[in-house]
């Protein structure tokens, strides 16, 4: 492992970091890509329903290492506890080559036009930091297109009248209808809604030299055994490595970003796979560890110039932490709805993302990814006992006769929902851990009600004999797999961390390229937006690169 100086060090090999590494390497920059997790090869993958990224009672299979990586969580009552990645309160995404894109469900949404202009449309709710993005939907469109075609997205959004303008259709068609779609699509149409096929980062035909989906029930939460599911690990990262200019180092956790005497990024200090301290110097640094870990890294990178963390002059690093509450319902049916055809989650409606009377924003509603038996147990109705013969009968009766409608509600961001670094708790390497705190803005709970009401309507129209509502009513932090917002983009350095190019306002050769950038987080899974922004940030870097530095 060479530590000689390179043009760029990219921290994190997920949706954002993988793309940046390829774009920079293909433009001729030398790149070191640091990843704290490891490779997961499809052939070694176990289909373990208790040990994966969606159900992790026996730990998350795609990282991080549970005992080595604690966090601190401050709950709504102000009580702090130490949490680990096998509990929901940890707000985990993943830690491996490819990040969350190895095991995700792979919904690949473009945000709507309105999602970039939330303040202009709705004003600023009291007690929130709702704002417009400094970049418009139209400016990001070519990068969405680039992500869709280079990585490969399948689906059919022609039936969605609410979507932002796009230059061409998706490159791959949707999978043939499963049984749930055959029931739910006409039901939505009867309600006057506009159901369409969800765009997915998953091959439905051979694409990029990889096969199409085999429709197993082991998708969301698992690596794909036949390599049909698309992530940065099986597209852009191999392409980056193939240039010969990019070196991937796994098992490497970055401790801090260091500055030179002129206040420019000099390099990163990290612990390598053998836990030895290393220094990697570079002309520029791109931070792509995810909204929680990227903010943590900046806050841990203290110096005389930045005593409270790199780029944190106005206390906006780590602020506005967002995710998505999921709301919807389960419908019980007399007829069989289960056909064992994965991945599920075929159709959605965007009728309730915007324009809901008296509400700011909303969220998409979709059929859910296919459920494994242990996952189905989560949907027990309150009047069915938790154990005993009646419970067993319920599971036996309804596992094959149930449909879930669910979707992410767009959050109203709050300054007080944030990532800090803990004054006492350290990880295995002695690095102060992320300390999470925050509660919902009250408006979020109104959106939860809206989504749940609509899901109930949809299931009822589809013929459900009974519906269980799943509505978030508790006031709590939301981050998790859709974590976003902590290094917000903006034109004003006093109310943002990076500029429109993803560049730290205060440090011109340090960039961020993950969902930390998001001003708001749409009513959608954020990964395609992360990817589009990564292409956009990379384009700015390569445009201004003059071999050895930025113009």
């Amino acid at each position: 492992m060479s530590s000689s100086h390179v043009n760029a060090v990219v921290i994190g090999s997920g949706a954002g970091g993988g793309i940046v590494a390829k774009q920079l390497a293909q433009a001729g920059l030398s790149v070191v890509l640091l990843e704290r997790g490891r490779w997961h090869s499809p052939s070694e993958e176990r289909k373990d329903d208790l040990h994966n990224q969606r159900t992790f009672v026996l730990g998350p299979a795609y990282g991080p290492d549970v005992p080595k990586n604690p966090r601190a969580l401050v709950n709504a009552q102000g009580v702090e506890e130490v949490v680990y990645a096998d509990s929901w309160s940890y707000q985990n995404n993943a830690a491996c080559v490819g990040g969350g894109t190895v095991s995700y469900g792979a919904m690949a949404w473009r945000f709507m036009e309105q999602d970039f202009r939330m303040k202009s449309l709705y004003g600023v709710p009291e007690g929130s930091t709702l704002d417009d993005w400094p970049i418009t939907s139209a400016e990001l469109e070519p990068f969405y297109d680039q992500a869709e075609y280079e990585l490969g997205v399948a689906g059919d959004v022609s039936g969605d009248p609410f979507k932002a303008p796009r230059r061409r259709p998706l490159p791959m068609p949707p999978l043939p209808d499963d049984r749930e779609t055959q029931i739910m699509k006409p039901a939505a149409q009867r309600l006057g809604w506009h159901p369409f096929y969800i765009p997915m980062l998953r091959n439905t035909v051979a694409y990029n030299g990889r096969p199409p989906c085999m429709r197993c029930r082991w998708c969301c939460g698992f690596a794909c055994e036949c390599d049909a599911k698309t992530g940065t690990h099986n597209t852009v990262i191999p392409q980056a490595l193939a240039t010969g200019l990019c070196e991937l180092r796994t098992g490497c956790i970055v401790r801090e970003i260091q500055l030179d005497t002129r206040g420019r990024g000099r390099g990163v200090e990290y612990f390598d796979g053998k836990n030895r301290r290393q220094l990697q110097t570079a002309d520029l640094i791109v931070v792509a560890g995810g909204a929680i870990e990227s903010a943590r890294l900046l806050l841990n990178s203290k110096s005389r110039l930045f005593p409270t963390g790199l780029g944190n002059r106005f206390d906006w690093v780590g602020r506005n932490l967002q995710g998505h509450a999921y709301n919807g319902g389960l419908g019980l049916f007399e007829e069989e709805t289960y056909d064992d055809l994965g991945p599920g989650g075929q159709i959605a409606v965007c009728d309730f993302n915007h324009g809901n009377p008296g509400l700011a924003g909303g969220g998409m509603l979709a059929t859910e990814f296919i459920r494994l038996p242990y996952q189905f147990l989560n949907w027990r109705p309150a009047d069915v006992p938790r154990w005993g013969p009646a419970f067993k009968s319920f599971v036996r009766q309804y596992f094959r006769r149930s449909i879930v409608v669910i979707g992410p509600s767009q959050e109203i961001p709050r300054f007080e929902s944030r990532v800090e670094v803990d004054p006492k708790v350290r990880d295995f390497w002695g690095i102060p851990v992320a300390r999470l705190s925050g509660v919902d803005h009250p408006h979020n709970l109104k959106l939860s009600q809206l989504a749940t009401d609509k899901a109930e309507l949809w299931l009822k129209e589809a013929g459900a004999t009974r519906i269980l509502r799943r509505q978030k009513t508790a006031n709590s932090l939301s981050a998790g797999q859709h974590q976003a917002g902590t290094c917000r983009m903006g034109n004003d350095p006093k109310t943002s961390v990076v500029n429109k190019q993803g560049q730290l306002h205060d440090v011109p050769n340090v960039f961020v390229a993950d969902a930390s950038l998001h001003v708001t987080n749409g009513g959608f899974n954020p990964v395609l937006t992360i990817m589009a922004l990564a292409y956009h940030v990379s384009a700015g870097i390569t445009r201004n690169w003059k071999g050895g530095g930025l113009r």
Binding site: R46, L58, S87, P176, C226, N378, G388, R396
Partner: protein, 221 residues
């Protein structure tokens, strides 16, 4: 996908156990949903009828020959009785026949080792509660007495003297979750013997589509 409410379970910090090799059940041929139990149907039917009405000696058949990693033989027998109250045998096997006790034992020595003290103290407290309420060891309770004990355990209505060092509610909640993991989770962890719960739910075997001999791997509806 993300859920909006707290998921039960989740044990802090223990390093996960090395995974055992995949159980033989995974390699069996596809069975049609009409005959979802396949070759083991008769054996399970017989065992189910017997265990539903008779003594724990049948629930725990062969327990004395097994290598228990954490549980004592007495504890294992108590757990067999208790987990069969949580998921009793009916037209499908109950939790004990599905190997849930073996699952719990394996995990207590592995990923769930943080629950060791809870089980040791909790089972002792349950043994004591059984004596106080019914003047019998737990494994000798009649069927209706077993259900009554568990119902009280769930509601924290057992005699409190036995429960000073261990939380009744916490133990119950964790135990139920472990039973569910051991019954409905994959057979590789020692429970769900022969994928009995997956057959009960009519899921095709082997569980992964690409490994069925007659299925091509690509785009198979």
């Amino acid at each position: 996908m993300k859920r909006s409410e707290t998921h039960p379970g989740g044990i802090q910090g223990a390093t996960k156990d090395a995974h055992p090799s995949v159980s033989g059940a995974v390699g069996k041929r596809l069975h049609s949903p009409d005959n979802a139990w396949g070759l083991n149907r008769r054996r399970f039917l017989v065992a189910s009828v017997l265990t539903a009405i008779s003594a724990p000696s049948l629930l725990c058949a062969g327990f004395e020959d097994l290598h228990w990693r954490f549980l004592t033989l007495d504890e294992a027998r108590m757990l067999a009785v208790l987990c069969d109250v949580i998921l009793p045998p009916d037209q499908d096997p109950g939790a004990a026949a599905a190997g849930v006790v073996q699952f719990i034992d394996r995990k207590l020595a592995g990923y769930h080792r943080g629950s060791q003290a809870l089980y040791r103290r909790g089972l002792a407290a349950l043994a004591s509660s059984s004596q106080q309420l019914f003047q019998k060891p737990l494994v000798d309770l009649a069927a209706h007495e077993r259900v009554a004990l568990v119902a009280r355990w769930e509601k924290n209505e057992l005699p409190p003297e036995a429960w000073k060092a261990v939380g009744s509610g916490e133990f119950f909640s964790r135990f139920v979750d472990h039973v569910m993991q051991g019954y409905f989770g994959g057979p590789r962890h020692g429970g769900n013997r022969d994928a009995v719960s997956w057959r009960m739910l009519g899921l095709p075997q082997p569980p992964v589509r690409s490994r069925r001999p007659e299925s091509p791997r690509r785009n198979q509806p």
